[in-house]
Symmetry: C2
Subunit: 220 residues, 2 copies
């Protein structure tokens, strides 16, 4: 049975509560499919939101950046963040402008981002960053040396105070608007991948690995 996430005043869904949930497994499925997290924090001069790559390692989200990064280096003693991963599934066209919507799956997570210093945990995060995006890649690349590891900050955010919001299916017009005669329905959207583009400076006798040719952005 799936455990529940922590429902707090910040994670309680007030609008369209029927779209909300606190199911941990459902949150993990969204986090495991997404590729970019939008991370918000206040490092002293107001709220900043930036896009970051991420991975889930167990019950934590790991993030990374350069030690030389101005704002990341300010996380040395931890810092509260809010993190959102959104998957867009479709545009919902209703009879009324008011009832137009999107189909989507999103996770919003609140927590303290703390520095990962333990070497084995940091190595596990490095593996997760690659294998989250392209499963199988970690074992087929040059892994970080000590200098690269030292130059990289890894942050961990617990997946605890979090919520999910999901909308799916057709438009939901008021009864009075049905029959107005406009086309209504859903334009499905999905992230798709194109044929891999080999690096022009790569040796030309390297076969494209299976994990690249069979890459699926939905990671099914």
């Amino acid at each position: 049975m799936s455990t529940e996430l922590d429902q707090t005043s910040r994670t309680t869904i007030s609008r369209h509560a029927e779209r909300g949930s606190y199911d941990r497994d459902a949150a993990y499925a969204i986090l495991d499919e997404g590729m970019v997290a939008h991370v918000g924090f206040d490092a002293g001069n107001g709220v900043t939101v930036i896009p970051m790559t991420y991975a889930r390692v167990g019950d934590e989200i790991v993030l990374h950046g350069a030690v030389a990064s101005r704002w990341l280096s300010s996380f040395e003693n931890g810092r509260p963040v809010s993190l959102c991963v959104t998957l867009l599934d479709g545009l919902v066209l209703a009879q009324s402008a008011f009832s137009h919507s999107m189909n989507y799956r999103s996770v919003v997570c609140f927590g303290d981002a703390t520095l990962v210093t333990d070497k084995s945990k940091k190595d596990a995060a490095f593996r997760a960053f690659l294998d989250h995006l392209v499963p199988g890649r970690w074992d087929d690349t040059r892994q970080p040396d000590a200098k690269e590891s030292d130059a990289t900050i890894v942050l961990s955010v617990p997946i605890a105070e979090a919520s999910i919001k999901v909308r799916s299916g057709p438009p939901k017009d008021s009864a009075k608007d049905l029959g107005l005669g406009y086309w209504t329905g859903v334009i499905p959207l999905e992230m798709t991948s194109g044929p891999p583009i080999p690096d022009p400076v790569m040796q030309d006798d390297i076969d494209t690995p299976d994990y690249v040719t069979s890459f699926d952005p939905k990671r099914k």
Copy 2:
């Protein structure tokens, strides 16, 4: 000639400065292609990031939500936000784990989100929300009545203190790593749309409009 965005301490790109720019037209192109903005704010209990639909109207980004929304209603007197729109273009596989990257285009914008109360400005925002996502839809739907308009909060954020970050092209490995023998290159990613799914409760004599059949998520 394109005007520049405001370069402040918050928008100055410190890492990978070669990826940064402050070109207004380039920012508008990203904002006009995106469908979801991640908006960060602090309404009194820490930073929160949520996904929102948006549109660009001239030099402003407009956002909307329900008057009944707990947090949106707290914006009555304005509130600073940070807003980020990210378009993902590819996964970049390099010889070293350290040099893996993503191809993307993103805009980060800082500004005060203020309530739009002027009726004609609010109507222009309503039109923009639909025509931004599905050009042509506004003129082919029932437009908001006074009650719906009153139930909707529209916020405006000036596009001024903002920056762009773009990465494109092949991996950039250190010279010492070239020839390690791993496959390197780019897996291109893009948002694509599938065949429209008609609403099951729609009258069955409605033709699918051209703006739906020809919908392009890249809005070219």
